[in-house]
């Protein structure tokens, strides 16, 4: 039960969505864009979020696309569910990552956009997008705009008020690159990550973003330089661990020292499995 009232709108076009957002704001109300809704409902139930209107974007055709555009880019609507992305198998690394977020039933409800815009710190679907240099298409009142993912996603998805994520565009070559995905949890398979990495190998170089290691997901050039440098796998793992050492999360899922241990193992694991790819 959500202990407050709000209005519900389900626009059929992007324009309707941004218009109703503006209109509600002008009436002094707090609207939110609503996609899968799982996080909003669970937060609203315990009073961690409050709003006056939910604008459900699942009926907007552009938010539901799953196709290649004329430039051979994969286009994924922000309101696709994680399970739709996994089952389509068009972006195997993203599918794999999405298939390890929450559980299967939840994956039938959680959407790509919802996970990217999540307030929960993990936002694991951004990892494949960061490595694949995806672009985010955002709708605002004055139309559509496209941003490189690493610009608009800095620790979290930074959208201007009133705008919403419509789709993610990814170069087919990147989407089909050889990849790795490792998710480590405390003990239970379905859990928040102690550490997740989901990267690709491009031009002989590994790209390795992380979620769960720090309080936000990230990709670091410094880490990737060490990763792709010479030196034994162990040395590289140690060096990388040292560079992030101070920012490693420490919580009930795992102490920072333990996460550091898991990080080193994971890096060695990635280097080993990807060395001949």
């Amino acid at each position: 039960m959500i202990p407050f009232d709000f209005e519900y709108y389900r626009p059929d076009t992007m324009q309707e969505a941004t218009d109703i957002f503006r209109q509600l704001e002008s009436e002094g109300k707090t609207p939110v864009y609503y996609s899968g809704g799982t996080e909003l409902i669970s937060m609203a139930r315990v009073g961690n979020v409050i709003f006056d209107a939910a604008i459900d974007i699942k009926n907007i055709p552009e938010c539901r696309v799953l196709e290649y555009d004329q430039d051979n880019n994969l286009v994924l609507g922000s309101a696709l569910t994680l399970s739709e992305i996994t089952e389509s198998n068009q972006f195997p690394l993203l599918g794999k990552t999405a298939g390890r977020i929450a559980d299967h039933t939840m994956q039938c409800k959680i959407t790509l956009g919802g996970n990217l815009a999540s307030t929960i710190i993990y936002r694991e679907t951004v990892l494949p997008l960061l490595t694949a240099e995806s672009r985010a298409v955002v709708a605002s009142h004055d139309g559509l705009r496209e941003y490189p993912i690493n610009e608009i996603f800095n620790q979290r998805l930074n959208l201007e008020k009133g705008s919403f994520l419509v789709k993610i565009v990814t170069n087919r070559g990147f989407a089909e690159s050889p990849y790795f995905h490792i998710k480590k949890t405390k003990n239970e398979k379905i859990d928040y990550p102690l550490l997740t990495t989901a990267g690709i190998k491009v031009g002989g170089m590994l790209r390795i973003p992380f979620s769960g290691l720090c309080s936000y997901p990230f990709r670091s050039m410094q880490i990737e330089n060490i990763l792709n440098d010479t030196g034994s796998f162990e040395e590289r793992a140690d060096k990388i661990a040292d560079t992030v050492s101070e920012n490693i999360l420490n919580d009930t899922s795992g102490s920072s020292e333990y996460r550091k241990f898991v990080l080193k193992n994971t890096i060695i694991n990635v280097l080993e499995t990807m060395k001949d790819v």
């Binding site: 009930t252 020292e257 080193k264």
Partner: protein, 699 residues
Amino acid sequence: MIEDRPPLARKKVRYYGEPIALVVADSDFTAAKAVSLIQVEYKPLPVVNSPSQALEKDAPVLHEQMILYHLTSEDIYPELNTNICDRKKIRKGDVKQGFAASDIILDSTFTLPQSDHIAMETRAVHARIDADGTVFIKTSSQTPFSVRESISQTFNINLDKIIVEVPFVGGGFGGKAPVQLELLAYMASKAVGGKEVKMINSREQDIASSPCRMGLEATVKLGAAKNGMIQAVQITYLLDTGAYSDVGPRLIKAMIVDCTGPYNIPNVWCDALCVYTNHPYVTSFRGFSHASSAFCIERMMDKLAHALQMDPAEIRAKNALQPGNTSPTQVKITPSIFGNLTACIDKLKALINWDEGTMIEVGNGKVRAKGMACLWKTSNSPPNAVSGVLLTFNTDGSINLNCGCVECGPGMKTTAAQILSEKLKMDINRISVNMEVNTKYNPEHWKTVASMTTYMVGRAVLRAAEDVIQQLKNLAAAVLKCPPEDLEVANEQVSVRQDPSLFLQFKDLVHGYQYPNGNSVGGQILGRGSFIMGDLNLLDQETGAGKSGPYWTVGAQAVEIEYDRKDYTYRFVKAATVLDAGKVLNPKMAEGLVKGGMCMGLGLGSRESFSYDKDGKVLDTSLRTYKVMHFGETPQYLVEFVETPEIDAPYQARGIAEHGIIGIPAALANALSLAAQAELDELPLTPETIWRIKTGGCS
């Protein structure tokens, strides 16, 4: 036991999640709005965050007024001005001498966290007070009759003015034995003139506000001769009862009673302290403390085997209690009372292929390891625990079995029907058992706990069956003009033994017999069966001597894991249990109950626990962070039974509903300790815990 807990906190809040105020509204929507308007200002008090901290010299005392608390049982010994609300002791033999006679002495300490029941249905209650003052409570409870008693005593209402109804219960595991929400629901209804109110725990409330499973700190010293024979044991248990005692005193009693494990230890010294802390308060949980106490003694058995370079299975078999030995509370061991542990161990070894080796390299840094644990448990039910059964007949000869036990999963009603059908030699499908319980219409059954329902209800059923058999025979004897003892009851008929073609059908007898001329005799046949626990007694305060249950159920369990040395992770391969069931009454159900218990035990061993911050705030209050076992993570389960008759039990059957859980955390820890070559003496055994113990927590 110790009346130390007000339904709503008064003056002092003693644990995170303790209810402090109650809002009654027309809808949950409005109630939630009202709750958000309540502003609470707390004055922080020093926090007691563990039982050992509670015993420190300058520890804050949680209950300064303990002297004023009413005790509902004579065998509770609070220590005033401390956090010790009860202490129970075993003094058997002479431990000094025992240790002197030992070639090897081992010491260990154990730390086991609090955890939660996580019944899938959270606790829920409806309450109303009718115009004539009758209080009506509908609740998800394992103890409808205790709810009635508790409402009566707390609010001074006559028992006949309280009706408690319990529908099917969505899982209990001991967590629905205490009375908590029912008192609040009554108060809420009272506050609105008796209108019907509904209270349902959210999952967060069910975890943090309602009672949970005990935590434990223990130190154990074990002495043995070179040949592996145990000479003495000295144990101190500090039970973390949380902010209130609930059944804590009963839990420490259960711990001392079985503190040696099912082994013959001639010299025993044991102190069990029930200790207040600022944690959620604890209550019964499947196994009633035994999964915790077994963890300590069964880890010690493995350490002993390791130190003496003996086979852990052999050392257990060697020390297994045998007829003629006595238990820690000096109860004489007989095959009927105890069962046959040695047979369980033998069968388990075959089941888990023990003799192929307990540790096998599988390559790639991985190793498969097996660990074992034995278990025993008796009921610790009060001597005056009762159970009653009433039988009525329908005019077609079918039977209604009316009993007061609750159905929360283990199929108790089916068992009751099976026993009756066996005794009356009739089709079980012609027996219908009341599924819901209503304290006004059903005879009292003590509590649906302690794996005692088959025993207690079963014995009442047998007496009720005897009662109707006698009445049927008497009436048939008059009609057939023969002595009752020449008659037999079977297939809904009473027939003459010498000439079975002479018979009367139930349907012609059970509502009276009508002669051809219309004259009728007899009337309704009503069967009654009543049982009281009887020959149990309170334990001696100084030595613990006394009998606390009618019999034991013993067993042996094993867990096989595959452990990865590189990253300290592991997966379950097999879990096996052999129980001495006395007699298995419902084979598929029995197997299912034991497997379910094992699954829960693997959860306790590998992932379930409360963690607290420095203020004692529970950090795992949702199923997002409090993890239980899930589909696909479980091992292959192997279950077999040994059948040593319990001669007083219905069809010789022992209770088995809890026992699957008891030895599993210990068996898991034994397997992992072997695989990791480390002493894993705490739970839960997450990869991080193993990593920390192995490396000292430094990456």
